[in-house]
C-alpha cells in the first residue's frame, strides 16, 4: 500500500541558494519519522513545503498514492496534515478549551457551546492521557510541557493523518520532555503518521521508527532507529561519512 505522504524529488531554491535538492521522504500511518540535520540542512524549508507555507519549485507530493498540490496552509489542513510550530502560538489569556477550539469554536445559534467544547476537550485530552490541572485555567499558568501538549492536542482536533512537530522538546525539562515523547508514542498508537523534527538524538532514538537525515539540502540516508547507533546518525548529519572512501564505494556500486 502506498504511504500516506511521499515526497518525490523535491527541490526548492531561494535566489542563489539551493535549499533543497531532490529530497525524498515517506511517512506511513502509525509511524514516527524523525527528520534530523544540522542548522541550514533544509529541515525548516522541508517543513514549509509539507505545511503549505512554501511550496516546492520542483518535485511531486504524493498523498495516499495520488499526486497532490499543497500551495497554501489550508490545502495542507484539508488533506489532513497538522503542523505544530516551535513557537506554540497559544493565547495565554484563554483557557485550555478556548485555545483548543480557537478559530473553530462550536456554536449553537451563534452562541458558543462551552459545554460541548469542554466535553470534547476532556475526551481528547483523556484519550491522549494528557494531565492538565483543569481545562478551565488560562494557558499562562501551565508549564512548558503542558503548553506543548495543548498545542499538539489542538492540532489533533481536525483528526489529521500526518502530524508535523517542529522541535517539540526544545526548551523543555527532563520530565516535560518525557511527557511530550509519551504523547508522540500515543499519536503513533492511534494511527497518526508523525514527522518529528529534533536536534536531540536521544529523543529521536527513543520514539522514532525511522530517521531521515538531511545534509546541505539533500537526503543523506534514512536509518532504522532500532538498528542504527547514535554515532552513525551523527556522522550522517555532520557529513563525517562523506569521505573519500565512502564516495569511492558509492561510485563502484553504481
Amino acid at each position: 500500500m502506498a504511504p500516506v505522504l511521499a515526497l518525490e524529488r523535491i527541490s526548492k531554491r531561494f535566489g542563489a541558494v539551493q535549499a533543497l535538492t531532490d529530497v525524498e521522504l515517506e511517512v506511513d500511518a502509525g509511524e514516527v519519522v524523525a527528520l534530523v540535520g544540522d542548522n541550514g540542512a533544509g529541515k525548516s524549508t522541508l517543513i514549509k513545503v509539507i505545511a503549505g507555507v512554501g511550496p516546492p519549485d520542483e518535485g511531486r507530493i504524493m498523498w495516499e498514492g495520488r499526486q497532490a498540490t499543497i500551495a497554501t496552509p489550508s490545502d495542507a489542513q484539508a488533506l489532513g496534515i497538522a503542523t505544530v510550530y516551535q513557537d506554540l502560538a497559544l493565547c495565554d489569556n484563554l483557557d485550555v478549551v478556548g485555545n483548543l477550539y480557537l478559530g473553530n469554536e462550536m456554536t449553537t445559534m451563534g452562541v458558543l457551546d462551552e459545554v460541548a467544547m469542554e466535553k470534547r476537550s476532556r475526551d481528547l485530552l483523556e484519550t491522549l492521557s494528557i494531565k492538565i490541572p483543569s481545562v478551565r485555567i488560562p494557558v499562562a499558568s501551565l508549564s512548558g510541557g503542558q503548553r506543548q501538549t495543548v498545542a499538539i492536542s489542538r492540532s489533533l482536533l481536525g483528526d489529521p493523518k500526518i502530524v508535523l512537530l517542529d522541535e517539540p522538546t526544545a526548551a523543555l525539562g527532563v520530565e516535560q520532555t518525557a511527557q511530550v515523547l509519551d504523547l508522540v508514542e500515543r499519536l503513533r498508537g492511534q494511527g497518526h503518521g508523525v514527522i518529528l523534527i529534533s536536534h536531540n538524538m536521544v529523543d529521536v532514538k527513543a520514539v522514532a521508527d525511522r530517521i531521515a537525515v538531511l545534509r546541505l539540502g539533500r537526503n543523506n540516508g534514512v536509518f532504522d532507529a532500532k538498528t542504527t547507533t547514535q554515532e552513525e546518525i551523527i556522522s550522517a548529519i555532520t557529513g563525517a561519512t562523506d569521505n573519500a572512501a565512502s564516495r569511492r564505494s558509492r561510485r563502484l556500486s553504481e
Binding site: 493565547c91 478559530g103 451563534g110
Partner: protein, 408 residues
Amino acid sequence: MSESPVDPRLVVSEQGLTGYLGEFRRKVKGGELGPLPVVIGLIVIWLVFQSLNSQFLSAQNLSNLSVDIVPTGLISVGIVFVLLLGEIDLAAGAVSGACAAVLAVLNVNMGMSPGLAILLAVAVGAVLGLIHGFFFAKIGVPSFVVTLAGFLAWTGFQLWVLGPNGTINLPSDGFVAGLTSTYFIYVIAAYGLAALGVAGFLAVSLIGNNRRRAAGIPYRTTGDIVFRTVVLAVVAFGAAYILNLYQGLPLALLIFLVVVVGTDFVLRRTRYGRSIFAVGGNIEAARRAGINVPFIRISVFVISGSFAAVGGIFAASRISSASQATGQSNVLLMAIAAAVIGGTSLFGGRGTTYSALLGMLVIQSIASGMALQGVSNSIQFMVTGAVLLAAVVIDSISRRSQKAAGRA
C-alpha cells in the same frame, strides 16, 4: 514514566466549604482576583463617606449617583473593548463631545426628530471610530498616536459644529433630556427588573449546570448556585428598594445595565468576542487560527466610537445642552480609569464590561462623597488618582503572580 492513578498536580475540587476556601485561596494566589478588589474598595468608600456624612447613602444621593455614572460609563464600555485588544482610545472623550454637538445641531437647529438625530449622531461616532481603526489596523499607526490625532481633530470638529455660540440648549422636556430625567415611578418597575435579573441568572445557571451534568463534566453544586443567586438577589432587590424610595427606576440606569449585560454576553459567549480576547492575548496565535485580525481591530474601534457617541448623548441629556465642554476635560480619563479600576487589564486580553459599571461606581462615589463634604476638586482628583494607581498596581501584581503560579 510511571503513571499514578491520581496526578498530584491536578487541582482536586473538594466538596463543601473547605473546597470553596481552597479554590478561593488558589485563585487569589494565582492572581485571578476578578471583581473582588473593586467590590471591597467600593464598600470601604461607601462606609467611609457614610460615616462622614449620613446623607451619602440616602436614597436621593444613591439614585442620582446611579444616573451620574451612565454617560461616562457608556464611554467606558467602549474603552473596555479597546483595552481588551491591549490598545488605547484617547479620542473617546472628543468623539462623545463631537457627537453630542451633532445631535444638538440636528435636533435643535435643524428641527430633526430626536430619534433620527440620535441615530445619525451615533453613526458619526461609528465613522470616527472607523477612521481610527483604519489607520491603526491597515496603515499600522500605533493606536495611541491615531487616537491622539483624533482627539485634537474631533475637538476642533466639535467647536466647528457648535458654531460661534458654543452652546446649544436642548429642550428640557424633550426626548433627549428625557433619557436621563425619566424615572419609572411604579415600584413594580424596579422590583420587576430585579426579579427578572435574578430569575434569568438562576435559569441560565440551572440549565447550564444540567447540561454540564448530562455531558459528564464538572458542574457547580446546587448550594453554590443558590449562594450566588442569593447574593445577586440581595444586591438587586436592595438597589430596587433604594431606587423606589426616591423616584423609582431611572431609564438611564436601565439602558446602561442592558448595555453592560449585552456587551458582556457578546464578549464571552460569541465567536466574535472570543476573537477579541484572542487578538488581545496573542496576535500571531489569532492569525494562525484564521481570525481576521484587521477586521477585529477596526470593528473594535467602531464599537468604541459608537459607545463614545452614546455616552456623549447621555452627557448632553443630563445637563440639557451640548457645549464646548461636553466630553472635554477629564471625561476620557475617567472613562479609562473606570475600566481599569473595575478590573480590565491595560495589557490586553483580560476584562469584562462589568468593570465599566463597577469602576464608574467607585469614581462617582468618590466625587459625590467629596462634593457632599464640600471638598474642593483638587483633593477629589488626587484621591481618584490614588485609587486608579491602586487599581493598576493590583492589575500588575496579579499579572505577575499569574505567571508565577504556573505549575512547572
